[in-house]
Amino acid sequence: MNCRWIIILLAFLVQSACNTDTNVSKGDSLEEINIRLRKDPGKINPLFALTASGRELYQYIFLPVADFHPESLELFPILIESIPEAYETTTDDGEKAVAYDLIFRDAAQWSDGQALTAADYAFTIDVINHPLSKATRWKPYIENILSIKLYDDNPKKVTVYLNPDYMLSQETCVSIYPMPQHIYDTNKKLDIAATSDDTLQISLMDNINNAVNDRVGIVQAGPYHITDEASDEYLILEKRKNYWGDKIPNSPSLQGFAKKMVFKIVPDDLTAITMAKEGKLDFLELRSADDFLDLRDNHADSFSFHTPQLMFTYYIPMNNKSEILSDKIVRKALSHLIDVEDIIQTLDGGLGVRTIGPFHPTKSYYNESITPISYDINKAKELLSSSGWQDTDNDGILDKVINGKRTPMELEFLITGSPLSKNIALIFQQNTKKAGVKLNIVAKKMSVMRKENLYTYKYDMAALAKASDVIADDPYSSWHSDNAIPGGSNTAAYNNPEVDALIQKIRQTRDPEKREAYYLEFQQKIYEDQPMIFLYSPLLKFVGNHKLNITTTSKRPGYMANTFTLIDEI
């Protein structure tokens, strides 16, 4: 065997692999921005799949009638001229209703040049309502839409009649993402009253339902469209030429400064950081506070760093049905055993904001007058003792006779296995041990945990996270006793008739100022009962190319890449 040829071949291969990278980051001019996605977004049609990962893309392609402004977090018009005011009226059937008049912008049009009209809005509502529709996410919202009225003399106007007692009537009627009727129902045959064996309706709805899988070639109203994509690799969005929204000033959703946005799927954080250092990524989100702070400390001249507050909270629900945790005093004692400030500092590099209740700190009705529960082991011991918990057998674990049976204070703590939940559990375990509480940590996948434990209330405590949105909170699903049933969404099985009544008041009050008083009272009562231990709301950790002027927001996903500009251009 002639080694010479082998060595020459190897040398050639190595030489060809030698770094010939030039700085190919197209972030030098805003021709192109390279953005990291953690995973493939899957379906990106918000009518059928309203996911966090999908939102990172669809916010540039699909437009709602109105949305929350990324800075002020108040509703601002997108497809309509202005945010409508409510007025009391009755429907044609004589039913009491609250109505909103939506006037679509004259300039608003679909990407194929057809005008976007009120008929498209009405068509979309019909699509959601259709018995064969897979837009299941929207059905509960539009149940409160009683009827819709179109106007022959003004194709841009629609009046939406809603249930007058529904708190989110305004948000509901403007959050819809219209679909182009001329594409999906050219002959206007869609009939929501049709039977399920109507072949025409089946064919129509199959076509519409399958729109959820569309990526390239979608006819929509947004400033960008997908021009190329490869599953699990990348998606390329390009700015539409002669876009109608360019003429509308001060509307973030209609802007588009970058000609091209390339979303690269990079699951691993280390790989993403390496790519960013080499100029292959211009914007990325990191999970680890350590990675983020390390970059901030050592590469401050290459990157810009942004930490908006995420609409997300970490909390520990306690099963209020369990014989140990049904006691409010025990729950309060456990709340004293976790040093939340220390956890934020130690585990998240100080990048978090402590929370005292179920609502996000950015909400206007967040009750800032409530003092967070302090970390105090002695106080916890006192409370447990006052509730009858003593270490009668001197094994270091408190016990008490419950229903005639000596019960040790032994609790199971479920975690998903993420590093953060594991670390929180370990810290909590150490602290509870000092107070005579034994904590057993069990790791399970989230979907398994839900099925086996949370839905069946066969658990004590769990480390969970909850996402919220800018829209006003409806506490019914998570806090009303109606949902403290197997399979229900009231995870803590919380049951307080006073709070149930408050929740009803909140749901029936449209006026935000009146509702705020109820929200504040609600938070106070939850705080007193401590059905959960509320931890904190983390800050997002974004790293961007230092040449870009990047604005971030609390509104998910935390940024709008279409608003990024080059610093030189300001």
């Binding site: 770094n19 299941t136 899988n213 599953s231």
Partner: protein, 402 residues
């Protein structure tokens, strides 16, 4: 031989079928609820019963699992037909406690029944079954497995609606572009090294090389990959270390996967290097031992006695006979090549089959998971058949009886 090949080929079909059944039944044993996963994929984290039932039926999970079932006599004919998640959970619990389905269904259908109360009512009004015996139920072709099997080629990903097979095909191209090159390279280099080890048994250099190979063999591949990425693709530690291109595939819009692979060859060299380094020690040792064993045999001694040069003895006599065990390694390595390397694909950001399989399992995208499993099963059985044929070619003494 021809008859043997035909027989083995015919056995492939039932083998694949058994694998498909096992894979399908295992997916049913996974505690994740696929309906909940699909609802999550659609952005519905807290679904109503109506939403759940709608997706449950859409996924045809209300059908029986298989063509038949053998259940205790007090079980319902098809428990999957209960589309309400909460009721189905309660019913399962009641059946575990051996309450008869007739009693359970009476309670559920009664007006007084409220969710969460089934166990209480059963305890008060009925007694569990004492002795039970099995019953056989035949469902025919209207079952989940049958639907899946016969829509295999048309199946689409539950995540993004794309054809499962096309996703698998694309991912496989990326994986094979690394693993096959690694296979060829590591076999070639291990033959070379094995030959030199045997030829120069007492060489001090080769002893050091041997230890070096063991060192790389003992390093976990993901750690090695991380080190290579951190130290050799950036200039954080000096520009002289920035040898290899940075990770991440360059994008060529509108071009095929093959085009992408060919124009990203430089990006694939580091993962290939990583794979080769870690597998070289094992293959080299195997060949070395195989060759060494051959060199001890009497016919080699005869060759020496005849005055034939050592190099010629190794090349012309020993090497050929040492091929037999090597076929085993090559065949199993080829089969493994199709499975990909998840960790490597994540670290080097290569959209290969390992990453696709992991993501699909995580999202309960069973359509894609089954496609991957079936493709790998088929390829593996064919490769092992080829291995058997190669054995016969390498050693004419081997004959297969029909």
């Amino acid at each position: 031989m021809f008859r043997y090949i035909i027989k083995r080929t015919l056995i492939i079909l039932p083998t694949i079928w058994i694998i498909s059944v096992v894979a399908f039944l295992l997916s049913k044993a996974v505690p994740q609820d696929p309906t909940i996963s699909i609802l999550n994929n659609r952005g519905i984290s807290e679904s109503t019963n109506k939403e759940y039932r709608s997706v449950y039926t859409e996924l045809k999970l209300n059908l029986p699992n298989f063509y038949f079932a053998i259940t205790p006599h007090y079980y319902p004919d098809n428990i999957n037909a209960i589309s309400d998640r909460i009721i189905r959970t309660e019913v399962n619990e009641a059946l575990k406690n051996k309450y008869h389905w007739q009693d359970i269904s009476q309670i559920i259908e009664s007006r007084d029944y409220k969710i969460g109360q089934l166990s209480q009512i059963l305890r008060k009004q009925h007694t569990p079954v004492g002795i039970y015996f099995p019953k056989w139920i035949w469902y025919g072709s209207n079952n989940q497995y049958h639907n899946w099997l016969f829509s295999f080629f048309d199946s689409t990903s539950l995540i993004d609606g794309k054809s499962s097979l096309s996703k698998v095909g694309t991912a496989l191209q990326w994986t094979l572009s690394i693993t096959l090159v690694d296979l060829v390279l590591s076999i070639f280099l291990s033959f070379l090294l094995g030959y030199y080890f045997v030829k120069n048994e007492n060489s001090r250099f080769l002893k050091f090389l041997n230890q070096g190979l063991y060192l790389f063999y003992s390093i976990p591949i993901f750690w090695l990959a991380t080190l290579l990425v951190v130290y050799l693709t950036t200039d954080d530690y000096g520009s002289w270390t920035n040898i290899f291109p940075s990770v991440g595939i360059d994008i060529y819009p509108g071009k095929s996967t093959t085009y992408h692979i060919l124009h990203n060859i430089d990006k694939l060299l580091l993962p290939i290097l990583c794979l080769t380094i870690t597998s070289l020690a094992y293959s080299t040792r195997f060949i070395r031992r195989s060759l060494s064993d051959e060199m001890q045999k009497p016919y080699i001694q005869t060759a020496y006695a005849k005055g034939i040069d050592r190099e010629i003895i190794i090349k012309k006599h020993a090497l050929r006979n040492a091929l037999m065990p090597m076929i085993t390694i090559i065949v199993s390595a080829m089969a493994n090549a199709f499975a990909g390397s998840l960790l490597l694909e994540v670290i080097f950001n290569i959209p290969g089959i390992g990453r696709l399989l992991f993501n699909s399992i995580g999202h309960t995208d069973w359509n894609v998971v089954f496609s991957i499993v079936m493709v790998i099963a088929l390829v593996t059985t064919v490769i092992y058949l080829i291995g058997d044929i190669l054995y016969a070619i390498a050693n004419p003494k081997i004959r297969y009886d029909a």
